[in-house]
Amino acid sequence: MSCPVRNRSFIPPVALGDYPVGTAFPAGHLVDTNAAWRSMRPVIDATACSNCLICWLLCPDGVIQRHDREALQIDYDYCKGCGICARECRQKAISMENEGNYGT
């Protein structure tokens, strides 16, 4: 797996038999998102972006996804809106916009 993945069909354990043995559980198992943490969200202007990948490198949450020859994408499920990407972008290609504008 290339990244921890959200398990949308996760059913919380109820009976004792539903629980894992020991304190051991599959790695990379996500249940909820961090989207609700945001009050601002980064928006990348693909035309201004030089694809230097500094934002991708410095995101503490790893939510900027790079694709060969395509524009960078942000996983808004897990972006917390910290603003590091916008602050560090040399091209000023990322702006922090009010989360409220996005109706979430």
């Binding site: 797996m1 290339s2 990244c3 921890p4 959200r6 996760f10 919380p12 354990p13 304190t23 559980f25 599959p26 790695a27 990379g28 198992h29 996500l30 249940v31 909820d32 998102t33 961090n34 943490w37 230097c52 990948l53 500094i54 991708w56 490198l57 410095l58 995101c59 503490p60 949450d61 790893g62 939510v63 996804q65 790079r66 897990y78 917390k80 809106g81 910290c82 603003g83 590091i84 916008a86 602050r87 560090e88 922090m96």
Partner: protein
């Protein structure tokens, strides 16, 4: 091996780094320097890593049943036990004939310099093949910003408040890098999330060490230090620029300074850019400058650069 030379096999290109995310969906605060340090380390070390994370911020945010933010094998250790658990993992894997893996630990400053120091010393003494990474946010952050052995002079924490009697922490950071080097460890280095390429190079080197490695990463904490979440990288860079943190390495009995500022950046700007230092008076700033100058005089005299 001398890190002051640009070694081709450790040349890092951002584009050459893996796309895989091994620390994702975690509950760290926005802008957390520690989580960036951890994320980048696992990118370099890869999927055949056993990550050990003691009680502290990174374990608290990464392993909350049923949400597991680590994509590789990972385990929480007791607070004092990062290095001893790493030793056990390395020994167990060796005994089972498992090859080509990394046993890597991510402990905070408290978990390293205070409660974890004994076990770290033992692991280095045993020459165990482990990589120990200390993410230094200069206080016990997970429990609410209490003073640790790596809290710098003058910093306000919840257990070293700034008042009339004392103005924040009165002790200095324990010199963890030098303490570890004094053991004769195979490889040790300091790093900062504000100098990511240097950190990545050092991670790449640690991968190849046939013995014990220690990386000490300066990792600002917006909540505990009192700065904007977007400023984490800038704050870390400023710390190195003004000489309050340094980028260095130790190997084969030699200290190497990787970055020697020609002129230091403003200590005043660095300190007053964070709430935890805003109470400092002129005398305090002068004292901190003097401490920095004395340290750098010794570093420049004794370490190669």
């Amino acid at each position: 091996m001398n890190l002051s030379e640009q070694r081709p096999e450790h040349k890092i290109s951002i584009r050459g780094l893996s796309d895989r995310e091994f620390f994702y969906g975690h509950k760290a605060c926005p802008g957390c320097g520690g989580s960036l340090a951890l994320r980048l380390a696992l990118k370099v070390l890869g999927e055949r890593s056993y990550a050990v994370v003691p009680a502290g911020c990174m374990s608290a945010v990464g392993f909350i049943f049923p949400q597991m933010a680590f994509g590789c094998n990972a385990i929480i250790s007791t607070f004092p036990g990062t290095a001893s658990m790493l030793s056990g993992i390395a020994a167990g894997a060796r005994a089972l004939g498992i090859e080509d893996f990394h046993a890597v630990g991510f402990a905070g400053d408290g978990g390293t310099a205070d409660i974890g120091l004994q076990a770290l010393s033992g692991a280095i003494d045993r020459h165990d093949k482990i990589i120990y990474i200390c993410y230094d946010n200069e206080a016990y952050m997970n429990t609410g910003v209490q003073k640790s052995g790596l809290t710098p002079s003058g910093a306000r924490t919840t257990t070293s408040p700034a008042g009339k009697r004392l103005r924040g922490a009165v002790t200095r950071k324990k010199p963890m890098f030098e303490i570890v080097a004094a053991h004769g460890i195979d490889y040790a280095a300091t790093a900062s999330v504000g100098h990511p390429l240097d950190y990545l190079r050092k991670l790449e080197h640690a991968r190849t060490v046939e013995g014990t490695s220690y990386l000490h990463v300066f990792a600002p904490c917006p909540v505990g230090w009192g700065h904007e979440t977007a400023e984490t990288i800038a704050v870390a860079k400023n710390a190195v620029d003004c000489g309050l943190w340094y980028l260095a390495a130790y190997e084969d009995g030699k200290f190497v300074l990787n970055h020697n500022p020609g002129e230091f950046g403003s200590i005043r700007d660095y300190l007053f850019g964070q709430n935890r230092f805003r109470h400092l008076q002129e005398q305090d700033v002068s004292d901190i400058e003097a401490q920095r100058d004395a340290k750098w005089a010794r570093i420049r005299r004794e370490w190669s650069h």
